[in-house]
């Protein structure tokens, strides 16, 4: 398992577009933006619908499950918060229940709780909400929650 992330070294600054998203993580909800006019969904929560330009928006609560679409293994920490964490996997996750207006699955990213040895594209993952010492912030992470056929793993 990767080492701890020192969240005291990162100050999240919620803003007009994102404050509700961070409220969501505190309630252990993984939210994506949804357009009230056309139903399009997207992430991160940019303030306008790229399909119809509507700014009349709502939130869609995902089940927090998806499939690893790609990943990167970070071996060199850049931010001080991640010095103890390396090596760790950042996964790009295609959500199961959440697609854009044209049918493409919405993708999110996050740090896996699993090690590099366990990761492969195609594996199912689910969100885990990590409490931090910072009382106002809860960080979503992800963990592998099953097996799959036709996975792909980087080998060298």
């Amino acid at each position: 398992m990767p080492g701890a992330i020192d969240y005291s070294r990162i100050t999240i600054v919620p803003d007009f577009d994102t404050a509700e998203w961070w409220m969501g993580t505190k309630q252990h909800k993984y939210l994506v933006r949804q357009c009230k006019s056309c139903g399009h969904k997207w992430f991160p929560p940019f303030p306008a619908c790229s399909k119809c330009t509507s700014m009349d928006l709502t939130w869609f609560e995902t089940a927090g499950k998806g499939v690893i679409h790609s990943y990167v293994v970070v071996t060199q920490p850049i931010l001080s918060a991640f010095i103890e964490t390396v090596p760790y996997v950042v996964a790009l996750i295609e959500l199961d229940d959440c697609h854009e207006a044209d049918g493409a699955l919405v993708r999110v990213a996050g740090v896996l709780l699993d090690d590099e040895e366990a990761v492969a594209m195609g594996l199912p993952v689910e969100v885990v909400f990590e409490e931090t010492k910072e009382p106002n912030i809860v960080i979503p992470r992800w963990k592998i929650c099953g097996t799959a056929e036709n996975t792909w793993k980087f080998t060298e």
Binding site: I5, Y7, S8, R9, I10, T11, I12, V13, P14, D15, T18, W22, W42, F43, P44, F46, S50, H69, S70, Y71, V72, V73, V74, T75, Q76, P77, I78, L79, S80, A81, F82, T85, Y88, V90, L92, E100, A104, V106, R107, A109, G110, V111, E116, M121, I139, W152, F154, E156
Partner: protein
């Protein structure tokens, strides 16, 4: 660009040494680069009336540079941006000149990219204070996904799966660009490398190794653009601007990582416009500059701009085809991987020098202005370099490009 093709030219180029660290201000370096570009063109401060630059909150401004050098501007603009900026500002300069806003324009980039603010870092080098994750970074930083190597690694990984390329594909790019740097006295990293050297280098962000990554560099570089009429009165053979695109967007406007294929980039969208404006095809291009922040970015640009098909770069780059005296010499100065990282401008400058047939190489007879084309002796001038494609980009969602033409060769 249509009727603007060949109407405007790059007439002067200049840069500071590539340094790490510079122990200088970005203003001091920019003044040196602009002075050298003016001297290169045979222009005086009074001849310059437009200046633009780009930066990422890490540089000086056009007005500071112009004031320092006694240049009176009719137009200046400093934009925010990285690797898709040089070509964007070239296209912008063509518009300004055509509109009569000014007569001669300097474009510069100045950065202490090693000793000052480093890419992906939040502060100058040294002890790092608690990091503020604001704006977009709220959705990268707390995942430890903060640097270009970590972002591009994500696309590179999926690319390997989807195309069957291997990291040896990336190695071919590193080897070719380093070979060119070995012929460039200005380059920071000049020792030639092999595929095996690449494969042995340490991981930075798997699947990217150290030799897949560009060099953090302190440097300033500048180029000057004016009309063809004025260009013919100046010191250097003119280099014509045939066409350009500025900040074209990826086909799907969603988050970079929600596009159907995350390695399908903005160049895919810009290429028809680029070649259409210039009135040429990929086959007419003699040399390219390819934004090599990473080896991988070169690989996918070759595909995006149609030099090979999607997923075909793994065969296209094999056997040194990106090297001088082969099919498509790329980044003849060594590029960002080996010469130094300048956010794109130095590769354009190298193309200008190649098209003038004045690559400032280590060729033993270059002092007399003669190229031997003997690579072992250090000559890096391409024999028949007439058309250059400059492929710039910033993120996977934006791209700018330009095609330049020389009159020699």
């Amino acid at each position: 660009m249509g009727n603007l093709t060949d109407k405007y030219c790059v007439v002067g180029v200049g840069e500071t040494p590539h340094m790490r660290p510079s122990n200088r201000t970005t203003l001091s370096m920019a003044c040196e680069a602009v002075k050298k570009a003016m001297a290169n063109a045979g222009l005086e401060p009074r001849d310059i009336d437009g200046m633009t630059s780009y930066q990422a909150g890490d540089s000086t401004t056009s007005n500071h540079v112009a004031t320092s050098l006694g240049i009176r501007l009719n137009y200046s603009l400093d934009i925010f941006g990285g690797g898709s900026s040089t070509e964007a500002l070239i296209a912008h300069a063509v518009g300004l000149l055509e509109g009569g806003y000014c007569k001669t324009i300097v474009i510069f980039r100045s950065m202490n990219g090693r000793s000052g603010r480093r890419m992906g870092g939040q502060a100058p080098s040294g002890p790092v204070p608690p990091t503020q994750a604001a704006g977009d970074q709220q959705f990268y930083m707390h995942w430890g996904w903060t640097t270009p190597a970590q972002w591009f690694g994500m696309s590179a990984m999926r690319y390997l799966r989807d195309t069957g390329a291997t990291t040896k594909t990336f190695a071919e790019v590193a080897v070719a660009h380093r070979y060119h740097a070995s012929l460039n006295p200005k380059a920071i990293m000049r020792a030639p490398i092999t595929i095996e050297d690449h494969q042995r280098s340490r991981w930075v962000s798997k699947p990217l190794r150290l030799l897949d990554c560009c060099l953090e560099t302190d440097v300033s570089a500048a180029l000057i653009i004016t009309s063809r009429e004025r260009a013919f009165d100046l010191k250097q053979p003119p280099v014509f601007i045939m066409g350009g695109t500025a900040r074209t967007m990826a086909p799907s406007p969603s988050w970079n990582y929600s596009r159907p294929e995350i390695h399908y980039v903005a160049g895919n969208y810009g290429r028809n416009r680029l070649f259409g404006m210039a009135g040429i095809s990929q086959k007419d291009v003699d040399i390219i500059s390819c934004y090599d922040a990473f080896t991988f970015t070169t690989t996918i640009q070759l595909e995006a701009y149609g030099f090979c098909g999607k997923g075909e770069a793994k065969d296209f780059v094999k056997g040194g085809r990106l090297q001088i005296d082969h099919e498509l010499p790329s980044n003849l100065s060594g590029g960002h991987l080996s010469e130094g990282y300048t956010h794109g401008i130095s590769m354009v400058i190298e193309n200008v020098r190649q098209l003038r047939h004045r690559a400032d190489d280590a060729c033993p007879r270059w002092a007399e202005g003669i190229h031997t084309y003997d690579r072992k002796a250090g000559c890096r001038q391409v024999k028949k370099a007439r058309i250059a494609a400059c492929l710039g980009w910033g993120t996977e969602a934006t791209s700018s490009s330009a095609i330049l033409r020389g009159i020699i060769g």
